[in-house]
Symmetry: C2
Subunit: 398 residues, 2 copies
C-alpha cells in the first residue's frame, strides 16, 4: 500500500478554515455570514502600495536576491529605525510571508525532537510549522482571568528541559490581542539568557496597539544573539495576498543558516516586494486612521460582548482579535451550529473555536476567537446575532 | 553556547550562487561577466502576462484560497488538457514556485529517514529540500557517455531499500538538458509499481523540447496514485520572480495532506496568480518563437563546445542547460579562476561547477553546467572566453 507520511497525518488541519464548508452552505441558503473568524482585514490596501506594482515597468519578472531586493531591505532598515529597532540590511532576510520566517526560524535553530515553549492560546499555524520541522511544541497556559498576560516565570522554568531551544511570543498577540509589557519582555529576557534559548518574536501586529506602546524583542539589550524577529506586511498594510515578510536577527550564524534555506527556494515574490518597498513611504499618519478605525471596532466588540450574560471578554491591548469566554461547553459545536442551524434577521456569524489555539487537550471549549475585521455597523449586526444565538443555543450553560 | 540546528549546518549552500562574490569583484574591475551560471532567462515576460497584473483593479490584496484561486486552477485544467494531461482543478494545488511543490511533496510522502532516489547530476535544491524534510537522497549516477540517459533499471533495484519511498526525475532535465523518452518513463513506471514508490516528476521545462516530444509522468497509465507532478510558471513564461508553481496529483490522500501544509502557509502569492492565469491565454504559437530562439542558442553552444579540444557536450534534447566535460580536473577551481584571474577582450564567463549537482563525492570535477539563457551574440562571446581560457588555465589537463 502506498501511504502518506506520518507527518502528513499529524499535520493539523487549519482550525480557522475547517468550518468553511458550513459557511458556504449557510450562504447558499441565502444567509449573510459575518466573518469574524479570520484575520483578513476589510481595510483597503493603500493605493500607493498597489500603484507601485501597477506602474512598475520592468520587462522580465526575474528572481530577486534570495534575501530579497537590496533596495527593499534598505528601506526596511529605515522602517525599523523608526520603531526604535537598530538593524542593517544584512540582518534582514525577506521571506514569503511571515509564515516562511517562522518555518525558517524553526529550521535554522531547532532540530527534530527539540522543544519550543509557546504561551497558549497561540496562533495555530505555529503547530503546523512545528510538525513540518519535527519540533515539539510545549504549551504554557495563559489565563483569561489575567487577560492572557505572560504566565509566571515559574511556569516556564517548570517546562524547560535539555531539549528546549526556543520560546515564541506573538506581540501583540494573535489570538488574544494581549500586548506584552516592557516588564514581561524583561522577564523573557532573563529566561532566555539563563537557559540559553532563542526568543522568536512574531510582531505582525506591531502597529495595532491601543493601550500602551509596543516594545519589540529586538530592543532587549544583552540578548541580541537570542532574538529572531518574524515580521510581515500582511496586516500592517492589509496586504495579506502579497506574501511578503521578513526574518530579522543579529545572530550571524542564524543568518547564514537561514540564507541557505532562502537560497534553496530561490527568492521571495517579486511583485509584492515592490509593494512592500512603496509602503515604507506611506505618510506617518497612515496608521493613525487605521488604528482609530480598529479602536472603534474593538470598543464596540468588547462592550457588546461584556454586556451579554455569562460572556467575558478581556479588553485587548493590540492586534484585532479577542478570545472570549461564552456560556457554552463546546465551542466547536457552537460555531458549527451557528452556521448550520441558526439565523437572526437573515444572518449568522462565523467565529473560530478557541480549541484550535490551545495545545493542551480540553482547553478552549468555552472560548472563541473573534477577529474584529468588519466595520462597526457589521460588528453590531454580528453581535446582535451572537446575543440572540446565546439565548436559544441548546448547548448554552446559562 | 547558543547553537544553530544540525540541519542548519547540513543544509548545502547553493552551488550556483556561491561564486557570486567573485563575479561581483570581476564586475568591479570593469569586466563583462557572461552569466551562463543560472537559469534566469533573458527572454521578456510576455506583455499580456505583466499587463494582467498592472491592469488589475482589486482594492484589497487579500489571501487567496490556500490551494490557489479557483479561477486559476480551472484555467490550469485547460492548460494541462492541451498537454494530454487529464486532471480536474481539485487535483491541483497552486504553490509558491515549483520549490514549494517539491518541499510539499517530500513533506506529504516521506518521513525523516526515508529515502528518495534521484538520478545524478540533479537540480541541487532537491538536496536542500531533502535536508529540510529530513529525507535521505540516494543518487544513481547517469553518465555523460549516454548523454545522461536514465540509468539502467538494475541500478535502481540495487539502491532500493525498505526506506525508499520515491524517485524524482526532472524532465526535461536540469542540469543535463536530457529529455526522457516514453520508454524510459515506462521503465520508471515498472519500478515504482513493483516497489510501491512515489514518482515525483519535475516538469518545469515541459515546453522546451528540441529533439522529440515531451511525455509527462502524469500520462503513465495504471500508476495514477504514484505520480506527483511538480510544476512552475517560472521558465515557461520567463516569470521566475512570480513564485507560482503547482503540485498536481490524482492521489487523494496526498492532496489532503498537501492541503494541510498549504493551509499552514495560508496562500500562494496573489499578484502572480493573476499573471499565471493570463498566461494560459497566450496564443498557441507563443512557445514556437521562444523555442526557436533557444534552439539557435543550443546549437551555437553545442557546436562551439564540441569544437574545442578535449571538450565533450552531449546534445541536450530539452530545457536550456548542458553539462559539459572540460579538460580540467577541478571545476570549482576553474570557475572561480575564470572570475578571479582571467579575462578575454574585457570579459569573462560564469558557469556552475557540476560538483554541486552530484551527490556522490568526487563526481563532476571535470564538468560544468552551462545555462544558455543569453542571446546568440553573447553566447559566442562567452564561448570565445571559454576557448581562450582553456588554452591558458594553469589547471588544464590537455
Amino acid at each position: 500500500m502506498l501511504t502518506i507520511s506520518q507527518r502528513g497525518y499529524e499535520m493539523p488541519a487549519s482550525p480557522i478554515r475547517k468550518l468553511v464548508p458550513y459557511a458556504e452552505q449557510a450562504k447558499k441558503k441565502g444567509l449573510t455570514v459575518f466573518h469574524l473568524n479570520i484575520g483578513q482585514p476589510d481595510i483597503e490596501t493603500p493605493k500607493p502600495v498597489l500603484d507601485a506594482v501597477r506602474h512598475s515597468d520592468f520587462k522580465v519578472l526575474e528572481y530577486s536576491h534570495s534575501a530579497g531586493n537590496e533596495s527593499y531591505r534598505k528601506k526596511l532598515v529605515q522602517y525599523y529605525a523608526g520603531k526604535g529597532i537598530d538593524v542593517n540590511h544584512q540582518q534582514i532576510i525577506v521571506t514569503t510571508g511571515g509564515s516562511e520566517a517562522i518555518l525558517f526560524g524553526f529550521m535554522a535553530c531547532l532540530d527534530p525532537g527539540d522543544e519550543v515553549i509557546i504561551p497558549e492560546p497561540f496562533y495555530a499555524n505555529y503547530n503546523g510549522f512545528a510538525v513540518e520541522a519535527g519540533v515539539k511544541v510545549v504549551p504554557i497556559t495563559a489565563s483569561i482571568e489575567t487577560g492572557f498576560a505572560l504566565p509566571p516565570i515559574a511556569d516556564f522554568e517548570q517546562k524547560i528541559t535539555p531539549r528546549t531551544k526556543a520560546i515564541i511570543i506573538c506581540n501583540p498577540n494573535n489570538p488574544t490581542g494581549y500586548l506584552y509589557s516592557r516588564e514581561e519582555l524583561d522577564t523573557l529576557k532573563e529566561i532566555v539568557k539563563k537557559h540559553n534559548l532563542y526568543l522568536f518574536s512574531d510582531e505582525a501586529y506591531r502597529e495595532f496597539c491601543y493601550t500602551g506602546t509596543h516594545f519589540s524583542a529586538m530592543q532587549l539589550e544583552g540578548i541580541e544573539d537570542h532574538v529572531l524577529l518574524m515580521d510581515t506586511i500582511s496586516k500592517r498594510y492589509s496586504a495579506c495576498g502579497g506574501r511578503i515578510g521578513a526574518l530579522v536577527t543579529k545572530n550571524q550564524a542564524v543568518l547564514d543558516a537561514v540564507m541557505k534555506f532562502a537560497q534553496a527556494r530561490l527568492s521571495p515574490p517579486s511583485f509584492a516586494q515592490i509593494a512592500g518597498e512603496a509602503a515604507i513611504d506611506l505618510p506617518e499618519n497612515y496608521f493613525d486612521t487605521i488604528k482609530e478605525e480598529y479602536l472603534k471596532r474593538r470598543d464596540a466588540v468588547v462592550s457588546r460582548l461584556n454586556a451579554m450574560p455569562g460572556v467575558t471578554c478581556p479588553n485587548p491591548g493590540g492586534a484585532f482579535y479577542a478570545v472570549v469566554e461564552l456560556p457554552i461547553s463546546d465551542s466547536d459545536h457552537f460555531c458549527q451550529w451557528l452556521l448550520e442551524s441558526f439565523e437572526h434577521n437573515g444572518a449568522t456569524v462565523m467565529m473560530a473555536p478557541a480549541t484550535g489555539f490551545y495545545q493542551t487537550p480540553g482547553l478552549g471549549k468555552k472560548e472563541v476567537r473573534i477577529a474584529y475585521v468588519l466595520n462597526e455597523d457589521a460588528i453590531h449586526k454580528a453581535m446582535d446575532c451572537l446575543e440572540a444565538a446565546l439565548k436559544v443555543y441548546p448547548g448554552r450553560t446559562l
